[in-house]
């Protein structure tokens, strides 16, 4: 009997001890893993995750930041429909995005194709094209305003010398019909270098065999562009347009510096409206409701991207 029990306890003890030490190791591994994540995650949770959750709550509140916070129900939501500035901001954001995205796409693709060829000084040209993207916005926006000064800026001087009637010279940032054009031109100029780099990476991923085969078939440069380059760049173009669209929805800095949303509300955009409502009028609840609209716009684009990427991966698999 006793020997049997001894045998049993022995048999039970070894795996149990092994189990204990395995569990200890598991816990130790887990703690190590969490220690890697903690420094970033704590900061991220407090300063990003928390405020995001609070933003959704705030959209349904009335608050000026000082007096007690009050539940507003759907008040802020209904106000969106009667707020003319919001309507202007919404449509201006759509117009800005609608022009900036395709223009930047075409310009950056054109630049990438030009600078993917084996030409002398190519790296210098690439650096020049990229530089506006990293240059300080305040600095380049001031220059932009000076160059496009309606009264004595060089652009209008050149137009005048080319024979444009002084009455018809564009008023650029000071003219409600031209202000948006000025901002869009600025954004395209500033951003196209970055997307050029992404397109260059895409172009380098196209197999040269495709072009060699086309050469044997006697395809023209134009045919090669439409039949090989463009289709092969499909994923890159898609990625670039998603990123660009999201960036365009969030536009603020260049508008603050070039037009201040004006003249009138001709360049007022969503983020500008959020900024005004929050930090000028202290309607914190309502500004969060406008922010929610911005979030929904971006969410739709992100879902489209996600679906598309998943499909692509499934097709590839």
């Amino acid at each position: 009997m006793s020997s049997v029990t001894e045998q049993m306890t022995d048999a039970a003890a070894t795996p149990a001890r092994a189990q204990v030490s395995r569990r200890r190791r598991k816990i130790r591994n887990m703690l190590t893993a969490y220690s890697f994540i903690a420094p970033n995650f704590i900061g991220f949770a407090v300063f990003t995750l928390g405020p995001i959750i609070f933003a959704f709550v705030l959209a349904f509140m009335h608050w000026d930041g000082n007096n007690p916070i009050k539940f507003a129900g759907l008040d802020n939501f209904w106000r969106l429909f009667s707020d003319r500035a919001f309507h202007a901001a919404f449509w201006n954001t759509i117009i800005y995005t609608g022009f900036t995205v395709p223009l930047t796409l075409v310009c950056s693709l054109g630049l990438a194709i030009l600078l993917n060829q084996k030409i002398f000084g190519r790296n210098f040209f690439r650096t020049v094209a990229f530089f506006p993207y990293v240059a300080s916005l305040v600095a380049v926006a001031v220059v932009w305003n000076m160059i496009f000064n309606p009264d004595f800026g060089p652009v209008n001087m050149i137009l005048y010398n080319l024979g444009v009637d002084p009455q018809n010279l564009p008023g650029w940032a000071a003219d409600r019909h031209w202000a948006m054009v000025t901002v869009i031109m600025f954004s395209v100029w500033k951003m196209m270098g970055y997307f050029m780099v992404i397109y260059l990476a895409g172009l380098q991923g196209i197999s040269s065999e495709l072009y060699e085969a086309a050469d044997i078939d006697g395809a023209s440069a134009w045919q090669k562009f439409w039949r090989i380059t463009l289709p092969q760049l499909g994923p890159t173009t898609f990625f670039v347009s998603v990123i660009l669209t999201i960036q365009s929805f969030k536009v603020f800095d260049q508008i603050y510096m070039i037009t201040q949303g004006g003249p009138g509300t001709s360049t007022l955009v969503l983020v500008y409206h959020i900024y005004n409502e929050a930090f000028i009028s202290w309607n914190l609840g309502y500004s969060s409701m406008v922010a929610l609209v911005l979030f929904l716009l971006v969410l739709v684009i992100t879902i489209v991207q996600f679906r598309w990427t998943m499909e692509r991966e499934e097709n590839a698999a």
């Binding site: 591994n29 190590t32 890697f36 994540i37 420094p39 970033n40 900061g43 407090v46 300063f47 990003t48 995750l49 928390g50 405020p51 995001i52 609070f54 705030l58 930041g65 030009l114 084996k118 030409i119 690439r126 650096t127 094209a129 990229f130 530089f131 506006p132 990293v134 300080s136 916005l137 305040v138 600095a139 001031v142 220059v143 932009w144 000076m146 004595f152 800026g153 060089p154 001087m157 100029w189 780099v197 990476a201 895409g202 380098q204 440069a221 990625f239 999201i246 929805f249 969030k250 603020f252 800095d253 603050y256 983020v271 900024y275 914190l284 969060s288 922010a291 911005l294 969410l299 992100t302």
Partner: protein, 286 residues
């Protein structure tokens, strides 16, 4: 000055290549257009205010006014602005690099409970524009008494989902076998992170450095909301303040702008070799 490695130039001898000439012509015209604002800025920074708008444009000033570059330091506290911005940018960039690569190592190479859920929390916020939650964030900072401090901006920019995501994508491409071998040799996880992962991740680290440095140095809306005291201001809002105060002093404004561009230019030129590789290898190109 290279954005990507130069492919060997070898072309058979042939007759006049009009396509190539056209390419050069277009490239040169485009480059001049892209550069024009910067050249104009540099040229205007060396002029008297009344000469800035002289037409036809005098690209190289006949009597360069170097005094503009001396006056800006006394007319506005530019030195203080540069110091503030440098301090913020360096602290944010270091914190960002260390904490992101630290967290990314766990997400890429370690197994632990809730790994996917935690990573999803990061991913979910990447597409979330900062502008959506900047108001609650401001209220939180005010509650913590961090309004009008540099600490607020550091907290705001040092722990981004983007950094963790970028580093994790890069770490995923490093073979697990390397870590396994190091573990068998008795190296701790911290040792693997420091001695193996970081040295292999120069492209990703450089990309993150450029992005963080450039974003922090050029950030406008953040300092605009948080810093109202002149002695705390960064170079961007400092120059902006200068512009609104002295609207007509074009030469000085341009000189200050040139000064604000130099650090970014230096960091960009020093690290751009790694930059394209970084963009191409971290999934930033989709």
């Amino acid at each position: 000055m290279s954005i990507a490695a130069e492919a060997p130039l070898k072309r058979p001898r042939r007759r006049v290549n009009w396509g190539l000439i056209a390419t050069y012509a277009i490239v040169i015209v485009l480059t001049l257009t892209m550069l024009a604002p910067f050249v104009w800025m540099l040229s205007a920074s060396l002029k008297l205010d009344r000469d800035v708008f002289a037409f036809p444009i005098e690209w190289i000033p006949s009597h360069p006014r170097w005094e503009n570059y001396i006056d800006i330091w006394t007319k506005i506290p530019l030195g203080l602005f540069v110091y503030n911005t440098t301090k913020l940018t360096v602290i944010v960039t270091i914190l960002q690099l260390v904490t992101s690569s630290f967290a990314a190592y766990a997400f890429a190479k370690l197994r632990f409970p809730y790994r996917n859920a935690l990573f999803l929390a990061y991913i979910a916020t990447i597409a979330m524009p900062w502008q959506v939650y900047m108001v609650p964030q401001f209220l939180l900072m005010r509650e913590l008494g961090l309004n009008n401090t540099h600490l607020a901006l550091i907290c705001l920019q040092a722990f981004t989902a983007f950094g963790v995501f970028l580093m994790r994508q890069f770490f995923m491409s490093i073979p697990d076998e390397l870590c396994e071998a190091a573990r068998i040799d008795g190296m701790s996880e911290y040792g693997i992170w420091w001695r193996i992962m970081l040295p292999l991740s120069m492209p990703a680290l450089s990309t993150l450095t450029i992005f963080t440095f450039v974003t922090t140095w050029n950030d406008f809306l953040g300092p605009l909301i948080y810093l109202t005291k002149t002695e705390l201001k960064t170079i961007q809002i400092g120059i902006r303040m200068f512009i609104t105060q002295y609207t007509q002093e074009y030469g000085l404004i341009m000189a200050a702008s040139i000064v604000s561009l130099i650090p970014v230019l230096l960091v960009f030129l020093a690290l751009q070799r790694f930059f394209v590789e970084g963009i191409a290898s971290t999934g930033l190109k989709g």
